[in-house]
Symmetry: C2
Subunit: 266 residues, 2 copies
C-alpha cells in the first residue's frame, strides 16, 4: 500500500450514502471523513455500466486528490457496476456495499431464501446473486427492481398511503418467494425500513449494508495499522450540485445541525 | 444571422422531448432533425440553475458543431433556467418551450385562471408566471411541482391505480383554484394527459407546448428564408448514455420501427 492520507472517503450518487456516513461515524468516531454526493448527475440506478463507471472514477480521483486512506463506495449501483474499475485506479483500498450486504444476508437466512430489492442497474448487474452464491451455494435468490422507492423517499412520503401502495406492489413477489431475509440493496431504502417491515408482517429480516461496511472498514484499517488514534474526527462534505439543498436534506438523515457543504465540479 | 446548417437541433434531458420531435416532424416533414437526449445526467428537474445551464451549453455546443440552423430546447426545466445563456452562446436562433406554452394558455383561458404543473426547478424559476403575466396581466397563476410524474411515466404506469392516486393528489390544489386551463409544464406529462383529463372531469383545457413550439419554429424559419424546400427530412438521434435503452423507449413515443441512436460523451 502506498502512502495514505488520514481521512476515509465515502461517495454516493447523492444523499443516500449518508446512512453509511452515519454508521462509520458511530463505529469510528475518531476518523476524519470526506463525503462526496454526485447530486448533479443523480440518480445512477437507471444508467449504464459505462456511465456509472466513468462518474465513479472521477469521484475516486477527487477523493484521492484529498489523500484519503480508504474509499467506501456507498452507492449500491456504483458498487455493483464500478467497484473493480475504481479499485484498479486507486492507490487507497476500496470497499463496496454489495459484498458486506450479501455476506450478512447469507449468514442471517435460515430458510436459505433471500430477496434483493434494488435499482434497475444493480438488479441487471446480478452482483447480489453472485455474492450470495459465493457466501453460500444453497441460497435461492430473487431480485426486484424498485424504481419508485427513491423518488418517493426524496419527496419525503415516508408514512403515506401512496408509499404503502408502492411497497405492497413491490413486495408481492417477495412474499411469494417466502424469503426470510431481504437485502435493502439501495442506500435510500433503509429510510422506509419500518414501512417495509410493517407490510411484511414482521417475520422477515431486513439487511442493509451500512453497519456491515462500517465493520469491514474498521477491520481493514486496523489490519493495516491505519486507524486514527485521537479524535474527534471531522467530516467534510462535497457535492456536484447545489450545496444548500443538500445540507437541508442531510439533516433528515444524519441529524444535528445543518452541515457545511461545498460544491465541486467534476 | 450567420451561416446556418440545414438541420433543426432539438434537445432534452432525456426522452420527453421526443413529443416535440414528433410535432416538428409532423408540421415540417421536409426538415432534417438532430435530437440530443442527455440520458447520462437525466433528470434536470431537481437540479440547480447553474448545473442545468452548464449541461445545456454543452449540448448547444454539440448541436452547433453539427451545423444546426435552429435550436429548440424541448426540456421545460432547461427552457426555464438556461434559455438566455444558450441564446447568448449560440449563433443559431434558439426557442424554448415556456413562452409558446404560456402564450397558448393565456389565449385559451376564459376565466383567466391558469395552473402550471411542472418540475421543482421550473416552478422555482417562476418562468411560467412571468410569461403568463406578459401575455395577459389579468391572469391568475398557480404552480405545482409534481416530482412523481416523471418516474411513474418512466415506469410505464400509464393506466394504473397508483398513477390515479398521484394525479388525484397533485390536482387537489388545481381544482381548488378553479383554473380552466392547465399547462403541462414538463415534456413527460403529455404521456398521462388522458389520465389527468379524466381526474379533472373534462372541464379543463390541457396545454402542452409541443405543437406551439413547432409552429413558432416554422414561422421563424419561414421569416428567415431557412425552410428546407425538398424532403423527406432525416432524423439523427444522439444520447449521452446507453443508446439501446433509449431506442427501445423512443418507439413508445414516436412510433415506427426502432430508431438508430448514437452515444456521445459530452
Amino acid at each position: 500500500m502506498q502512502k495514505q492520507g488520514n481521512a476515509i472517503g465515502i461517495f454516493d450518487s447523492g444523499l443516500g450514502g449518508l446512512t453509511i456516513l452515519r454508521s462509520v461515524r458511530s463505529l469510528l468516531p475518531k476518523e476524519n471523513i470526506i463525503y462526496f454526493g454526485d447530486t448533479a448527475r443523480v440518480p445512477y440506478g437507471s444508467k449504464s455500466k459505462e456511465t456509472v463507471t466513468s462518474y465513479s472514477l472521477q469521484i475516486a480521483e477527487f477523493l484521492q486528490s484529498r489523500k484519503v486512506k480508504l474509499i467506501l463506495i456507498a452507492c449500491n449501483t456504483a458498487s455493483a457496476l464500478a467497484l473493480e474499475a475504481v479499485r484498479a485506479a486507486s492507490s487507497a483500498p476500496v470497499l463496496g456495499v454489495i459484498a458486506p450486504g450479501a455476506k450478512c444476508a447469507a449468514a442471517a437466512s435460515k430458510n436459505k431464501k433471500v430477496a434483493v430489492l434494488a435499482t434497475e442497474a444493480t438488479v441487471k448487474s446480478k452482483a447480489y446473486p453472485k455474492h450470495l452464491a459465493r457466501a453460500d451455494k444453497k441460497i435461492k435468490t430473487a431480485q426486484y427492481a424498485c424504481p419508485l422507492f427513491v423518488p418517493i423517499i426524496e419527496e419525503g412520503l415516508l408514512d403515506d398511503k401512496l408509499t404503502a401502495l408502492v411497497i405492497e406492489r413491490y413486495l408481492k413477489p417477495v412474499k411469494k418467494l417466502k424469503a426470510d431475509t431481504i437485502i435493502l440493496g439501495c442506500t435510500h431504502y433503509p429510510v422506509i425500513k419500518d414501512a417495509i417491515a410493517k407490510t411484511l408482517g414482521g417475520k422477515v429480516q431486513l439487511v442493509d449494508s451500512a453497519e456491515e461496511i462500517a465493520k469491514e472498514a474498521k477491520e481493514l484499517l486496523a489490519k493495516n495499522n491505519l486507524l486514527k488514534k485521537t479524535g474527534p474526527g471531522k467530516t467534510q462534505m462535497f457535492v456536484s450540485d447545489d450545496p444548500k439543498r443538500f445540507a437541508a436534506m442531510a439533516v433528515n438523515i444524519i441529524g444535528g445541525k445543518k452541515p457545511k457543504v461545498k460544491q465541486v465540479r467534476l
